[in-house]
Amino acid sequence: MFAGELNREPILGSPVFALQPAGGAERGKMRFWLKLLPGLTFLVPLLAGAASVSVTCPGIMIQSDIPVTLNETERYLVCGEAKSEEPFRSAWKSIPRSQAVFFLRRFLESRGFYEPQFDRSEDGGIIVKPGAITRAAEVIVNGAPPDLAFQRHRGILGRALTPELLDEVEQWIKNRVQSIGYPCPLLQTAADVNTGRISIAVEPGAFRNFDGISAESIPGTHDSALRRFDAFAFSSPFNADFLRLSAERTVIEGTLLSTYFDTICSPPDPRATARQSVVPGLPHILRFGFGANTEGLVLARTSWRNTRLGSGGSTFDVSAFASTKEQRLDSSFNWYFNPNAPRNYLQPSLELRHQNEEPFESLSVRLQLAPGTTWDGDKSGIRVEGGPVWDLIKTLRGTGPPTSRLLSLEARAWIQTHYFEFYRASPRAGLLSRVTAAFNDEKVLSDVTAQRLNWEGQALWNWRNYFPPLLIGGVRWSLRTTITNEPLTNGSLLPSNFRHYLGGLADLRGFGRNELPDSDLGALSLAYAGFELRLSNQLPVSIDPLLFVDLGLLGRKSFSLDPPLYWSPGFGLRWGTPFGAFRATLARGMVTTDKTISFASREQLSHWQFYFSFGEEF
C-alpha cells in the first residue's frame, strides 16, 4: 500500500521531488512481497493475539502489538537503580513516575511512537501503551539537482518516522548529490508527525569536476604514484563514490594500509576537489590463509609482498596456493617505472602450477613479460596488458602430449564500469568484460600452433535503478575458441589448457565441475550465457531468492559450436552477510535431443545439481 510513485514538479527552477503513496488505480501496485501474503495465511492463527506485553522493570509494563524493548541505559533511566548505594547511583535510585514518563516518551519517540498513553496500574505502576507507530507518508525534496532521482530510493514510505530514518534519508541524498557533481551539499530536514511528511531542503552547492587531489606524501614514494588507483579522470564530474572506490583499490592492492578522501568545501580550493589522507603502513605484507572456493574445495594460500618499491610504488609479490585440485607458485613484479605516468607498468612474472582436474592432470611453468597500462574515465576503467609468454606444460594424466613448450604473444584487456567495482560486495549494476588473445606458432619455440581467443564478462541491471535494489537482472557470458589444426584426439599435441570444458558454479550450474563435454577430450570452442533474476531486499535477514538459466554450447572445431545445447534452469537463495554472500543453488542439467549424443549419455548428464558457495556472486 506504500508503493511509492514520484511526482516531480519544477518550482522556481528547482525540481521538487515528492514521494507519495500511490492512490486510486495505483493502489493496485502493492509491494511485490505483499502479493505473497495470501500464501502465508496459514500463519494467521499463530499470530492472532500476539500482542506483546513486556515488563521493563517492576512498576513499568509496556503493552504493545509491536514489541518494544528498552536498552540497558534506557531501562536505567526509567527504572532507576533501587539497590545500589554508590553515590552516583543512589542519586538515581528512584525515578518518579513523571520523570519516567518523560523519558519513556522520548525513548518511544525515537522508535516512532508519538502518541503513547501512560495509565496507572492498580499497584500505582505505569502501563505504557505506545499506540500506533507514526510512519513516513510523504517525502518532499526541494532544491536538489535534477539528477538526484530521488524516486530511486524506495522503502521509505511506511517506515517508522524516527531520527534514524531521517539520518538514513539525509545520508542517502547527501551521498547521491555528492555522486552527481556536488561535493558540498547542505541539507535541512523537517518531519511532521501529524502528517508523516518529511521535507528536505537541499542546497547542493557549486557543481564541480575533479580538479585535483591534494594528497599526503608517502616517504620514498612519488606523490603521483597513488594516482594510478584513481577511479576517475580529472575534469570529469565529481563523484564521491569514485573517491571511495579509489581508496578501496589502494588498500586492496596493499600499497597503503588505509586511505580516505575528504572533500574540500570550506574554503573551496580551485585546484583540488578532495584531500587524500593516508596511513601507509609498513610495506611488507605476509599472509597465511585457508578457505574454500566455489567448487567446494579446501584452499591454502600464503604470500609475501613488498607493496612500495621505488618511487613509483611498484610491487613484488610471491605467493603459493594449494587446493586439492590445484597447486601454484607465483611470483610477479609490477614495475611502475615512470612515476610521472603512474598508470604504465611492466609486469614480469613466473608461475609454477600443478592441476589435477577430472579430465586431466598437468604441471606447467609460465614465464611472462607484460607491459600494461590502465585508464579510468568518468564511468568505467580499462586495463590493457600484453607481452610474450613462455609455457612449459607437462600432461601427467588425460589427453594431451606429455610435454608441451609454447612461446606465445598474449594480450589481455579488461573493461569494468566503476559501479560494477563499487558494488562488488553487493552486486547490482555495471559491466565487467575481459578479452584475452594468445598467439603462437610452432615455428617459434612452440611445439604446436594454437591461437586462443577468449571473451567473457558479465553485466548486471538494477531494475528501475532502485535503492535498495528490488530486482536485479544479470547476464554473464563466455566465448572461447582455440584456433589450431590439431585434432581433438588422444594423440593430439594440444595441451589440456587449450581445451575447453563446461560445468560448475562458474558457468553451467546444472552440471558438475568440468562435466561437459561428455568426453575427456574437451572442446575447441565454447559459448556460454547465463541469465539470472534476483529479488532483493524483500525477504527478512537479507535473503534473496533467485531464478536462473544457463545455456552452453561446445564445438569440436575452432569458431564452431555443435549441438546439443546444454542448459540448466534453476533457482537458489542468496544470503548477504558482512563477510560476503552465501549462495545455494539447485539446477537441473539438461541436454537437448541431438543425434550426436546418445540417449544414455543424455540421461547420465541430465540430473539435479546443488551448489553451496561463499563469496561467489553471479
Partner: protein, 780 residues
C-alpha cells in the same frame, strides 16, 4: 384737655370691652377669615399654606385659657415650585392658648392628627423654579419668615404635647436626581403628661423605595428621656429591606445623641444575598466631623470563591475630615486548605490571619469614590503546617481612587514575606506519585527551600521583587542556589484595568553558589536519546506562545563551578555556567568546562577548557575546547572546534607531528610504525571519521576514555564502529553493528591479524572463480 382725656378713656374702655368680648368668645380669633389672613401672613414669610375647607372651634376653659380645634380638608403646605409640597387629606389640630401672661402661649398641643398625607420633599436644591426666582424672594419674606421662625418655637416652648399622629400615604424625599426615597410614613407620639416627661416618637416607614433599600420597612423609636425638645435624643429600632440588585438586609440600630450633633450608635445586622451572608455587630460614633466604627464582630460568608468566611474582630475605622484610619484584624476561613500540587501533605493553613492597618488622607465622610492617599499595612501572621511555614508584611504607600483601583493608582510597596519549606525529602515523598514529582537526581536531596518576596514593589513600575534560595544536599550531591529577581507586569495595563495586556514577566538571576550533582550512569554502547529530535515537529509545539514571559540568567560564581559527577569521569567535572534562558529566544550564553585532570588515551591528561557558546542564532552556536595529553617527548593538544552538532576535531602537538602519528599515539600509545595492521587501519578510519565529522563529542570521549582495539568507518553511511577493551578478555562494540557497514570490498578484519578476504579470479581460465580466505596478515 377734658375731651382729650375722655376720648382716651373711651378708647381704652372700648379695647377692654373688645378684649373682654374676645375672652368670652375666643372663636372670634380663629375663624376661616382669620386663618386665611394668617395663611397670607405665612405666605409672605415664605411658607405656603392652603386648604380646601377649614372649620375652627374654640372653647373657653377659663378666663385666659382657651382651647381651639382646627379641622382642615386638603391641607397643603408648599407648592410644586418650592422645595417641598405636602398635603394631607384631613388634618386636625387641637391646642390650648394661655393669654394670662399678656403674650399668648400654647400650653397644650394635641391631639394632632394628619392623615392621607402625600408629599414631596426636594432636598436636592433643584426645583421647578429657576434659580433667579429662588434667589429673589418676595419683599419682606425674610423678615416674616424670621418672625414666624421666632414666634412658633416661642409659642410651643412651654406646650405640653398631646398625641400626635402624622400619616403619609406617600412621601417622597429627593436628595438628588438619582437619590430618591419614597414610601409610606407614619410618625406618632403619645401624649405627654408634662413637658418634663420623656418624649417618645415612633417612626414607621413602609414600602420604602430608595437607591439603597427597596420594599423596606423601618421601625424607629425616637425618644428624649430628659423630656422636651432639648436634651440627648435616642434612637432605636430596626430596619429591613431589599438592597437593589442584591439581597435582604436587616439590622437593629441604636443611637444616642451625645451633644453637638454627635451620636453614639450600635448596630447588629445581617445581610443575605442568595446564600451569601454578612453578619456584623458593632458600635461607633458619628458626628458632624467624625465617623467611627468599632466592629465587635463581623463575618462574611460565601462571598469569595474558595473562601468560606472572612471574620473581622475588633476592627476599627475612624474617619475625621481629611483622615481615615483603620485597624482591622481579620481571619480568612478557607473552604478547604489550599494544596500545593493537590496534595494534602502540602496544605497551606486553612485559616490564615492577617491585620490590615490604614492611615489615609481622604474626604469626609469617607467615600470610595473619592481619592485617598496614605499608608496601608498588611501583616500576614506567621503560620505553619507540616511542611511549610511563612508570613508576610506589606507596607504600602497608596494614592488613588478606591473604586477605580488600579487605574491611576500609585502604589509603592515594601514587602517582606517568606515561605519556607523545612523538609525537602518529605516533600519529595509527598510529590513522588504526582505530576509534580521532583525528578532524579534532585529527589535524593534533603534540606530547606526558602522563597521570599522582599523589597520594594511598585505598581507604577509594575514590579514585585522575588528571592529564592535552597540549601539541599544528599550523599554526593549539593544544591545551594540563590535566586533574585522580580515579577513584573505592564503597570499601565493594570492601571487601565486591562488584564489581557498585563504581560506578566519573570526576571530571575540564579546564582549556583554550591552545586554538585550526579549525572545518570551512561552506558558506552548506547547513549540514550533524551532530547527530542529538532527535525521532528509535533502538533503541540505549534500551540500559541504563552503570554507569560521570562528571562532567567543562570550563573556560577567565580571559583565555584557546578561539579557534575559521572561514571564517565573519575573526578567531578567542573562546569561554569553563564546562560540566559528566555521564552522568546533559544538559550544563549556559555557553558565552560574548566581545567581539570582526567585520564585520556591511557594517559594523564587535562581539559584546558571546553566552552560551548550558545547563540540565539542556532548556526552560530560554537564549540571551543582544548584537551592536553602529555607524553615524554611531546605534548598533544586536541582542539574541539566548530559547532556542537558538528564538532570539528583537530590534533596538534609540540613538537609538531603528522596527524596520523598523533592519532596513532593517542589511540594506541605507539607510533604508527609500531602498530599492527588492524591498529594502523583503525588510525586511518579514525582520521576519516574525524574529517567527516562523524564523531560527536560523546563518541570522541568514549574513544579517548577506553582502550581501543579497532575502529572502522564507512563514509557511505557515515557510520563508525569501534571495538573497545573493557577489561581483561572482554571487549565491547560501539557504534554501528558490523553488518551496517557496507564496505565496498569484501574484506573484513576479524582481529589484529586475521581477516576474511574474498578474491575473484585465480585461475587464468576461470576469472569468475571466487575464493574466500581466512587469512593471517601482517605488515612489517
Amino acid at each position: 384737655m377734658k375731651w382729650l382725656s375722655l376720648s382716651v378713656l373711651a378708647v381704652v374702655v372700648s379695647i377692654m370691652l373688645a378684649l373682654t368680648w374676645v375672652v368670652f368668645h375666643p372663636d372670634l380669633l380663629l375663624s376661616p377669615t382669620t386663618l386665611q389672613w394668617a395663611a397670607r401672613l405665612a405666605k409672605n414669610a415664605g411658607v405656603t399654606l392652603y386648604w380646601s375647607q377649614v372649620e375652627a372651634d374654640a372653647e373657653s376653659l377659663s378666663l385666659f385659657r382657651k382651647k381651639f380645634a382646627l379641622r382642615f380638608n386638603d391641607l397643603c403646605t408648599g407648592s410644586p415650585g418650592e422645595s417641598f409640597q405636602v398635603c394631607f387629606a384631613r388634618a386636625r389640630f387641637e391646642f390650648t392658648v394661655d393669654f394670662s401672661g399678656g403674650i399668648p402661649a400654647i400650653t397644650n398641643l394635641g391631639p394632632v392628627r394628619l392623615t392621607g398625607g402625600d408629599g414631596v420633599v426636594n432636598a436636592s436644591g433643584e426645583g421647578d423654579e429657576t434659580a433667579e426666582e429662588r434667589e429673589q424672594p418676595q419683599p419682606g419674606a425674610q423678615e416674616n419668615k424670621g418672625l414666624i421662625a421666632g414666634i412658633v418655637p416661642e409659642l410651643l416652648q412651654k406646650a405640653a404635647l398631646g398625641r400626635i399622629w402624622i400619616e403619609f400615604d406617600s412621601l417622597q424625599v429627593l436628595l438628588s436626581k438619582e437619590e430618591s426615597f419614597e414610601g409610606a410614613v407614619r410618625l406618632s407620639k403619645r401624649s405627654t403628661e408634662s413637658l418634663a416627661g420623656s418624649m417618645n416618637w415612633d417612626l414607621r416607614v413602609f414600602g420604602l423605595t430608595s437607591p439603597y433599600l427597596n420594599e423596606a420597612t423601618a421601625r424607629l423609636r425616637i425618644s428624649n428621656p430628659s423630656g422636651g425638645w432639648k436634651g440627648n435624643w435616642q434612637f432605636s429600632g430596626d430596619l429591613e429591606g431589599l438592597i437593589p440588585g442584591g439581597g435582604y438586609a436587616r439590622s437593629d440600630v441604636r443611637a444616642q445623641e451625645k451633644g453637638s450633633g454627635r451620636f453614639a450608635y450600635e448596630f447588629d445586622g445581617t445581610y443575605d444575598e442568595q446564600g451569601k451572608l454578612i453578619s456584623a455587630r458593632g458600635r461607633g460614633d458619628i458626628g458632624p466631623n467624625e465617623i467611627a466604627v468599632h466592629m465587635l464582630s463581623a463575618e462574611l460568608e460565601n462571598w469569595i470563591t474558595g473562601i468560606k468566611t472572612v471574620s473581622l474582630k475588633r476592627c476599627s475605622f475612624r474617619s475625621i475630615p481629611g483622615s481615615l484610619t483603620a485597624d482591622c484584624p481579620l481571619t480568612l476561613g478557607l473552604r478547604s486548605a489550599p494544596r500545593l500540587g493537590g496534595l494534602p501533605e502540602l496544605a497551606l493553613p486553612v485559616s490564615p490571619s492577617m491585620r490590615i492597618q490604614a492611615d489615609l488622607k481622604t474626604a469626609f465622610p469617607p467615600d470610595p469614590g473619592n481619592a485617598a492617599e496614605g499608608s496601608l499595612n498588611i501583616d500576614l501572621e506567621p503560620a505553619s503546617t507540616k511542611f511549610l511555614s511563612g508570613g508576610a508584611t506589606i507596607r504600602a504607600r497608596i494614592a488613588g481612587v478606591p473604586t477605580e483601583f488600579p487605574r491611576d493608582w500609585r502604589l509603592d510597596t515594601e514587602v517582606e514575606s517568606e515561605l519556607r519549606l523545612h523538609d525537602f525529602r518529605r516533600l519529595v515523598r509527598a510529590l513522588s506519585s504526582t505530576d509534580w514529582a521532583v525528578p532524579a537526581p534532585f529527589n535524593a536531596l534533603d534540606g530547606n527551600i526558602r522563597l521570599a518576596i522582599s523589597g520594594n514593589a511598585s505598581l507604577q513600575e509594575g514590579r514585585v521583587p522575588l528571592n529564592f534560595e535552597t540549601q539541599l544536599d544528599s550523599r554526593g550531591q549539593r544544591l545551594d542556589l540563590d535566586a533574585s529577581g522580580a515579577f513584573s507586569f505592564d503597570a499601565l495595563a493594570l492601571q487601565s484595568g486591562s488584564k489581557k495586556g498585563l504581560s506578566p514577566r519573570l526576571d530571575l538571576k540564579i546564582l549556583l553558589s554550591d552545586v554538585r550533582l550526579v549525572l545518570p550512569r551512561l552506558q558506552l554502547r548506547a547513549p540514550p536519546r533524551i532530547l527530542p529530535d529538532s527535525r521532528i515537529h509535533r502538533q503541540r509545539e505549534e500551540a500559541g506562545a504563552s503570554a507569560f514571559k521570562y528571562r532567567i540568567q543562570l550563573e556560577t560564581p567565580e571559583g565555584s563551578p557546578v561539579r557534575l559527577v559521572s561514571n564517565l569521569s573519575k573526578r567531578p567535572v567542573p562546569v561554569h555556567l553563564r546562560l540566559a534562558l528566555s521564552d522568546s529566544e533559544p538559550m544563549s550564553g556559555t557553558v565552560r568546562i574548566a581545567d581539570f585532570p582526567l585520564k585520556l588515551f591511557r594517559r594523564d591528561a587535562s581539559v584546558q577548557h571546553i566552552t560551548f557558546t550558545f547563540s540565539p542564532e542556532r548556526e552560530k552556536t560554537r564549540l571551543d575546547g582544548v584537551l592536553r595529553v602529555s607524553y615524554t617527548d611531546y605534548r598533544v593538544k586536541v582542539l574541539l572546534l566548530g559547532s556542537l552538532e558538528e564538532p570539528s576535531i583537530q590534533l596538534t602537538s609540540d613538537p609538531p607531528l603528522p596527524e596520523r602519528q598523533l592519532l596513532s599515539v593517542l589511540l594506541f600509545g605507539r607510533p604508527l610504525e609500531e602498530l599492527d595492521p588492524m591498529q594502523s587501519e583503525s588510525v586511518g578510519s579514525a582520521r576519516a571519521a574525524l574529517a567527516d565529522s562523524a564523531l560527536n563529542l560523546a563518541s570522541l570521549y568514549l574513544l579517548a576514555a577506553t582502550p581501543i582495539e579497532s575502529f572502522g568507518y564507512d563514509p557511505s553511511s557515515g557510520l563508525f564502529s569501534a571495538k573497545v577493551r573493557l577489561g581483561e578478555g572482554t571487549s565491547l562494540n560501539l557504534g554501528a553493528e558490523a553488518g551496517e557497514l557496507s564496505q565496498i570490498g569484501i574484506r573484513r578484519r576479524l582481529s589484529r591479524f586475521w581477516t576474511i578476504t574474498t578474491t575473484v579470479g585465480a585461475a587464468q581460465e576461470h576469472d569468475s572463480s571466487v575464493m574466500a580466505f581466512l587469512e593471517w596478515v601482517n605488515r612489517y
